[in-house]
């Protein structure tokens, strides 16, 4: 092999590795679904506590979360069918996603006495911010960074205001669902 050919081969390898390094699997619409469902839950919780709606409205919160779960299952199954490649970055991302939300669910259900009241929605905002920060840092994703900042800011502000539900709902809507919309637009 002559040096020019070696250089050509190295350039080819460099191009492929750079491209696959950027290939972080993101399904924006799932972020939108969960951002809206979480925001609806926070909002209804706040309205209930403020006495602005009747207790019967809790069903809306339950239905929105069930819709998000069902949508995620359908979307993941469809995605698996069309998936032609699983990058190492995508595998790590899926692992982090399961660890973050799995542990959050276990903490909330298993340690309910620690994470009752406003701590529960705050815990989910924290989990969402960890995931968006992970995407921002591992995938060098500016929209995820902005989303992560919005979520952390909403968490901090919510702890100082009298109506934290509105702030947490706004955070999930802008930071999480907003990031999902940005990811969808970027993919198109």
């Amino acid at each position: 092999m002559d040096p020019s050919e070696a250089q050509e081969h190295l350039d080819l390898v460099d191009r492929i590795l750079t491209r696959s390094d950027e290939n972080v699997c993101l399904v924006g619409d799932i972020f939108v679904a969960w951002g809206i469902a979480s925001a609806a839950t926070d909002l209804i919780f706040q309205l209930l506590i403020s006495g602005k709606i009747a207790e019967g409205w809790q069903w809306v919160s339950a239905v929105s979360l069930i819709c998000a779960v069902l949508y995620t299952i359908i979307r993941v199954r469809r995605g698996q069918r069309s998936l032609a490649r699983m990058t190492l970055a995508a595998r790590d991302y899926v692992n982090v996603l399961w660890v973050v939300f799995g542990l959050t669910a276990v903490a909330q259900v298993g340690a309910y006495h620690f994470f009752g009241g406003w701590t529960a929605p705050a815990l989910w905002t924290l989990a969402a911010s960890i995931l968006t920060w992970y995407i921002a840092l591992s995938g060098r994703n500016l929209f995820a960074l902005i989303g992560g900042c919005v979520l952390v800011a909403s968490l901090i502000v919510a702890s100082y205001v009298a109506t934290p539900g509105y702030v947490l709902a706004g955070g999930m809507l802008l930071g999480y669902a907003g990031f999902g919309v940005a990811a969808m637009l970027a993919r198109d």
Binding site: M1, P3, A6, Q7, H9, L10, L12, V13, I16, L17, S20, D21, N23, Q80, R81, L83, A84, R85, M86, T87, L88, A89, A90, R91
Partner: protein, 92 residues
Amino acid sequence: MDELLLSKIRLSVVAELLGSEWVAFSALVRAAETTNGNLGAHIAKLVAAGYVDEEKTFVDRRPQTRFRLTARGRDAFVAHVGQMQALLKGTS
């Protein structure tokens, strides 16, 4: 240098697999910009050498062939790239 990786197509297949858990044959055809038959022949050599593992599966009742890089393939790729870099350093 590694004789198997002197082919541009085989080198690009190994590089594609390096950053992935697995890649379907159809995705490799697109990435390597070649025909099914040509790529199939090149991958068969990589599989025979133990550089690449082949996995046949069904997705939505359709057969899908996936490939993943073995530890041997990874080592061979790293050594080959190192030798190419050394060649360039030696001439500069």
